[in-house]
Amino acid sequence: MWTIVRIELFKIFRKPRTYIAFGAVAAIVWLIQLGFYVDGETYVQFGMQALSETFDVEGRVLNGYLMAYIILQTLLVHVPLLIALVSGDMVSGEAGMGTLRLLASRPVSRTQLLLGKFLASSVYTVALLVWMALWTLFFSLWLFGADDLVIMKSEVVTQILRSDVMWRYAAAFGFATVAMVTVSSLAFLLSLFAENSIGPIIATMSIVIVFTILNSLGLPLFDAVKPWLFTTHMLGWKGFFDVQLGADNEQVVGSVENLPAVLRSAAILGVHIGLFLALSVAVFRRKDILS
């Protein structure tokens, strides 16, 4: 199995299209950082206007941690496309090139071959998120410095101590990884039914978009299915930035307001991954490989 994973990783990282995603992430993050570096203070002052009338705000609100939070909110919506770019190509790309029959006629089981490919695409997903973390978090910290994280939501302002932030980002990226592997496993499953990667990529994005729209619609008809759609849980990483309040209304350092909900979201995503992967194995084992 390890041999197959290594081979698949070798192939992934020798393909130029792999680096499109890394380039795109770096470019988008850099552009947002540049924008905030030039005009960020005005933007933050505008956002904090109402708060400044009641409180004295000290310190650097526009810091690396806030930048990372803003960028993640913006970027994680679009990353599924970058994930699908590679995962949707894992089997369909081989079928299109005619190399699938080359692999399937070798003395390895189809299940192992498929799992090897899936693990390799998951490694790619993790690598992309690590890359994203480096740019969004560490580069932002270097550029904007560190301070407490102040998050403004519609009616609530949450201030998280700088000493209490880093582990939350680690957990958020961990959660985002599970969410993106879910998208990856869907694209992977769809790639079994096509002979070029365009179809699976478009199909994956269409599913993500349709489910996201269903989530945002407040129609009772869809309320029953919403809790089971993977898109409902993909932004569960934000839960790590909701801090529990103690009896004296003070924040409890190291706490998460609704950890069971975050874990439940992660579990539902995990079930989706298992389901998509099991379907992929079942389909691939029975598939007549003609190309």
Binding site: I7, R14, R101, A104, S105, P107, S109, I289, L290
Partner: protein, 307 residues
């Protein structure tokens, strides 16, 4: 350690593959013995590639059984495939990788532990000088040779080549032919080579099977099937009706056949051809052309023309 094979290397029995109502392969049986260069002949669409795909477990048969090296293919898939190398249809490889990288991938997947195998096989197919170039820069002939190198890299006992000379120039075809014969003679490898060209198979195969519309037409030793003493003579005249009538009332009546296109042909021994020519002249038949061919070649040609 490999088990010593005493029986056939390939034994196919009652193999069928249906796609709905369409029978791609229909009750096909044949045997390939150790050391054979076995020709697998049929026109395009006859079911050759489908059969080869079933031999390599790429598609599932609807019925029938396949035994390789005396083992059931389904139950001993990995063990069997470790001893088989194949090029299926055209040698599609990873164009963005070099020839050597392609070989390394396939060697590892095939469980090849010999570090020198890649260099050796590149020398064998004459690609050592271009091994570190990307495959997308290769010519069709070089891709074909690399495909064969991929099939050979783990030193298989059985090599399956599906139309290995497709798209090659005459020199490329000759190179592949010589390579197959050399590996068969010097290394004792067994080859199953599919083709739609009888002339090609005549030059390399010692045994062959011809299939048509998924069914076996004939199987046997090439020297028997291609016996030059048994001939079919195609006759073209100014007036075929008259010629047919004259032949029907002559000593050649029993030899006259009609081919699929309604032309006159006669089945006879090679030694009888000069007498036929003399008799036609004596009967006053205006002969435009008289073309003797081998019976198998004639049959194969009729299949191709009908297709």
């Amino acid at each position: 350690m490999r088990a010593v094979v005493t029986g056939p290397v390939i034994e196919v029995s009652g193999l069928s593959k249906r796609y709905g109502e369409f029978k791609a392969v229909d009750d096909l049986s044949f045997r390939v013995e150790r050391g054979d260069v076995y020709g697998f002949l049929g026109q395009n669409g006859a079911g050759k590639s489908t059969t080869i795909r079933m031999l390599l477990t790429l598609i599932r048969p609807t019925a029938g059984s396949i035994r390789l090296f005396g083992m059931d293919l389904v139950r001993h898939r990995r063990e069997v495939l470790a001893r088989v190398g194949a090029v299926i249809e055209k040698p599609d490889l990873y164009g963005y990788l070099t020839g050597r990288e392609n070989l390394r991938i396939l060697a590892r997947l095939s469980g090849c532990r010999d570090r020198n195998a890649i260099g050796r096989v590149l020398e064998t197919v004459g690609l050592a000088a271009r091994a570190d170039d990307r495959v997308r820069t290769y010519s069709q002939g070089m891709r074909q040779r690399l495909g064969i190198a991929c099939a050979l890299v783990h030193d298989p006992e059985l090599v399956v080549l599906d139309e290995p000379t497709n798209g090659l120039d005459p020199q490329g075809i000759a190179d592949i032919r010589h390579l197959i014969l050399r590996l068969s003679r010097e290394e004792g490898k067994t080859f199953l080579v599919s083709s739609h060209l009888l002339s090609e198979m005549e030059l390399i195969a010692n045994r062959m099977v011809i299939i048509d519309r998924g069914r076996k037409v004939v199987e046997g030793e090439c020297r028997t099937l291609l016996d030059p003493e048994r001939q079919v003579v195609h006759l073209e005249t100014l007036d075929d009706e008259q010629a047919r009538a004259l032949l029907a009332s002559s000593r050649w009546a029993a030899h006259v056949e009609d081919d699929a296109q309604g032309r006159i042909r006669l089945a006879l021994d090679r030694a009888e051809v000069p007498q036929l020519v003399r008799d036609l002249a004596a009967m006053g038949v205006s002969v435009l052309a008289l073309r003797p061919t081998n019976r198998l070649e004639d049959y194969f040609l009729s299949l191709t023309q009908a297709g």
